[in-house]
Amino acid sequence: MTAATQTWPDARGRFGPYGGRYVPETLMAPLEELERAYDAARADAGFAAQLDFELKNFAGRPTPLQFAARLTEHLGGARIYLKREDLLHTGAHKINNCLGQSLLAVRMGKKRIIAETGAGQHGVATATVAARLGLECVVYMGTEDMERQRLNVSRMRMLGAEVVGVNSGSRTLKDAINEAMRDWVTNVRTTHYLLGSVLGAHPYPRMVRDFHACIGREARAQILAAEKRLPDFLIACVGGGSNAIGLFYEFLADTSVKMIGVEAGGRGAALGEHAARLAFSMGFRGARPGVLQGTYSRVLQTADGQIATTHSVSAGLDYPAVGPEHAWLAEQGRAEYTAASDDAAIHAARTLARIEGIIPALESAHALAEIIRRAPQMKREEIIIMNLSGRGDKDMEILARYL
């Protein structure tokens, strides 16, 4: 089998060289148990039916694929479609994975759920499904992120979750994951770690991808219905990479469809000023293969293997490693990775708000910045689908400074 047709990951959780399982021994048997439980759930039509029911009736799937007529006109190039994940309950794609994993946790008999969160969207979605299923919920969040995403902290507490501030390291997403892993290693027998991106040890990158693959599955059918053909480009932002892989996955075999992941270019190309792990062509350096938080992937780090600090105006993209499947897609040239700066993302958010009447999350605004750069140079018959992964209500305090 060639790389293009082989299904990844392999049995050891590898996407090419990336992925795997690098955790303290205490977590190994629980990860094996999780993998078995997930495989069993996937083979169970009852589980699929239950998940589909929740996705439809609680989360609000399917989401529209909206033709952005005024944005298309404004940019004067390719036809732009928005996959409206921002319309889902809780305001972002994150709920897809949270419903899947929480139903799995119930199947496994776990009564307590923990999660990390950066922008707070995954934390809110986790708190939401925990409330719906009657599970105890603890969310770890860096104190810097708690400051910049205050609204989401209140939402989680409103939903009955305990939000624990993490004051170590850069006080952002990476540090929240460290603390969640410490909780999990301590309470692993009673607790499911509801990891929120395509990161961490096997089987998380595969499982989280599968729970988000509905995004691309719907988008593919919707664009075929609307345009009678496949799109030319898929564009999505990449922090850990869950919304991007969710859009890309069902199109991987469609070789005519190009894919672009947009990372956080932050304030510049120096290490510490950005969170671009794969955008080499744009001059971002510092990411080398390495191991962080359970997986082997591209990691921003110092020469002697200490993990670097990162910066992004968007808390959800502010992370030094990238999902292992994205590292593999980049290495094969199947997807291309670029970066958008803080300023470009803010500008893009304002543009979408004023032209289409949609305030996007700052994360999604990075993907939009790439469209603003690229669409005017494209032909009018070309088609772009962008994953509008979340809405910007949570970012209003930051966006208000630019009004």
């Binding site: 303290p24 190994m28 048997a29 301590t186």
Partner: protein, 276 residues
């Protein structure tokens, strides 16, 4: 492979009927000069194996005490290469068994072969990598074995018997048993499930077993006399370093603590003999 200093020391302990004391400190906490003085004091106080922790920016297996030690060591510019240099200086002064204790990424960035070469040349006896398990350790073990270095792996309360067997097959020197699910750090009492765990580990291996995580008091060490071949003490020593106002004071305090624990270890073994 010729036996390392670690294997020889456990052999001596067995012949003497004595429980060993494995002492952990973070190298470079607060400076490499200080941690070398503390390591020498530990060797003089009777530590049987010294674990030198390599500081890492994201120590997911560690509690707050060792997290803070890592931060102090990184602030003073400690790198893996610097820790290996420190081993070389220590080895010129003492024959105490030295085990490097690291997260995987710094070792991976140095290169597995280069790490093994440098560690062997400096006089280290082996390594324990917290976040690598036998499944992912093939290349690492090959590099270490080629240089005659021990690879110590962890066994946990959650490890199945099948996993314990694999851990036993890939470990050399000794096997490190994590006493409870959780991160490093002190607790008032040892886990109730510990005797059942050490029995399962004994059934899987003939290697010496050392028990760590939550071992801080002489009474913990005494209890371990009946269960294990060595007690690992880390956070309790690192907490003394954190409290001390100078390297000299830290060395004195850590040595005093180690002596008390070693005393309990010596008594603990008679308890083991008495219960046999």
């Amino acid at each position: 492979m010729n036996p390392t200093r670690i294997t020889k020391r456990f052999e001596e302990l067995r012949r003497a009927g004595e429980l060993g004391l494995v002492a952990y400190i973070t190298a470079g906490d607060p400076t490499l000069d200080a941690s070398e003085r503390i390591a020498m004091a530990l060797a003089d106080a009777g530590a049987d194996v010294i674990e030198l922790g390599v500081p890492f920016s994201d120590p997911v297996a560690d509690g707050p005490v060792i997290q803070r030690a890592s931060e102090r060591a990184l602030r003073s510019g400690t790198t893996l290469a610097g820790v290996i240099e420190s081993v070389k200086r220590l080895r010129a002064k003492t024959q105490v068994p030295l085990l490097l204790f690291s997260y995987y990424n710094p070792v991976l960035q140095m290169g597995l072969k280069k790490f093994a070469d440098a560690a062997a040349q400096a006089g280290a006896d082996g390594a324990l990598i917290t976040d690598i398990t036998p499944e992912e350790a093939g290349e690492y073990r090959g590099a270490m074995r080629a240089r005659g270095l021990d690879t110590v792996f962890l066994a946990a309360p959650t490890s199945t018997d099948a996993r314990l067997k694999m851990i036993a097959e890939t470990s050399t020197g000794f096997l490190y048993v994590i006493s409870r699910t959780g991160v490093t750090g002190t607790k008032d009492s040892l886990a109730e499930e510990l005797p059942a765990l050490t029995r399962r580990v004994r059934a899987a291996t003939s290697l010496p077993i050392a028990v760590g995580f939550g071992v801080s008091l002489p009474e913990h060490v005494s209890l371990l006399g009946g269960l294990a071949d060595a007690a690992v003490v880390g956070s309790a020593l690192v907490a003394e370093i954190e409290k001390a106002h100078s390297a000299e004071a830290a060395a004195t305090a850590v040595a005093a603590k180690a002596r008390t624990l070693k005393e309990a270890a010596r008594k603990g073994i008679s308890r083991r003999e008495a219960t046999r």
